[in-house]
Amino acid sequence: MSISEFFHMGGYAVYVWSSYGLAFVVMLAIFIKPVLTRKQIIRELRMKYRQQERQQQDNAQAEN
């Protein structure tokens, strides 16, 4: 089987390659989403914790 025959898929190239292409895109998206979400959550939580610490320090100073 030659390369061009492979891509031609016996005349069904449009159907076969759009099936595989779509599956690739959807599965990649589903896989990457939680990686990005995790990074974002960690970033948000780090800010939140820092703010809390600052507030605690301020309160401690105010009491003194």
């Binding site: 492979f6 005349g11 599956a23």
Partner: protein, 248 residues
């Protein structure tokens, strides 16, 4: 019925987070290897079909996606039931994390089926029992996601979602047996029947490779989703603070 204490211990958020973190690579790497092997055998090694020519190669995506669409639904419903009965938070999180992945596979099964149907049946879509029940499955997933998104309290959202998922389980045997109960344009079972599979070994191998790869893919991605959700829900716990602090 009470669950043994060990179940609660291992399903505690912290344990789940640590253990799943170790498990994910063990699912993800074999998944990648099996995917490459499946694509090689499916697209290059397997011969063309004597009736369908090369177009049949779509089944290596279509059939595993359709199997996953039903399997993930069952996981979602069972996890939902466990959350409902034993109030295990992790089960609720797994149910919610499964829904988008299940919806994605249902969508893929429908679209790849359509892309195969056009050249083979001459129609993108027919209102046949198999296709219609699979479309209902997609709506069940979307309904579950929308319902949970509309309820703010996580415990109430989990409960409502679980009830919806459990009611929708009735659709699963309908999908599976639709090709027997009604005269459908969609073909009958080829692999999942008691008789010998009526598919040649050269086509069965890539199909099974892809099917196992898809299962591992689901396992890895549902755990990744559950872990993110866990960090968000447990953000006031000390162990989450430690993880965030250690993350560069």
């Amino acid at each position: 019925m009470k669950l043994p204490a060990i179940v609660h211990k291992f399903s505690s958020p912290r344990n789940f987070y640590v253990m799943s973190g170790k498990l994910i690579p063990w699912f993800a790497w074999p998944c990648l290897i099996l995917l490459v092997a499946g694509l090689y055998y499916g697209l290059i090694e397997a011969p063309a079909d004597y009736q369908q020519g090369e177009s049949y190669r779509i089944i290596f995506i279509h059939v595993p996606s359709a199997w996953m669409s039903m399997m993930i639904y069952m996981v979602m419903a069972i996890a939902g039931a466990i959350g409902l009965i034993w109030r295990i938070k992790m089960a609720d999180i797994v149910a919610s994390a499964s829904a988008p992945i299940g919806a994605a596979f249902t969508f893929l099964a429908l679209v790849t089926g359509s892309l195969w149907g056009k050249p083979m049946w001459g129609a993108w879509w027919v209102w046949d029992a198999r296709l219609t029940s699979e479309l209902i499955l997609l709506f069940l997933y979307l309904g579950f996601i929308a319902l949970q998104a509309s309820i703010e309290d996580p415990r109430n959202a989990a409960r409502a979602g679980a009830v919806l998922a459990l009611v929708g389980v009735v659709n699963i045997p309908i999908i599976h047996y639709s090709v027997e109960w009604w005269s459908t344009l969609h073909q009958g079972a080829t692999i999942t029947k008691l008789d010998k599979p009526s598919i040649h070994i050269s086509m069965l191998i890539p199909l099974l490779l892809m099917a196992v790869a898809f299962k591992l893919y689901y396992a890895a991605s549902v755990l990744m989703r559950a872990r993110s959700e866990l960090l968000k829900r447990e953000q006031n716990a000390r162990w989450v603070r430690e993880i965030v602090a250690n993350e560069s």
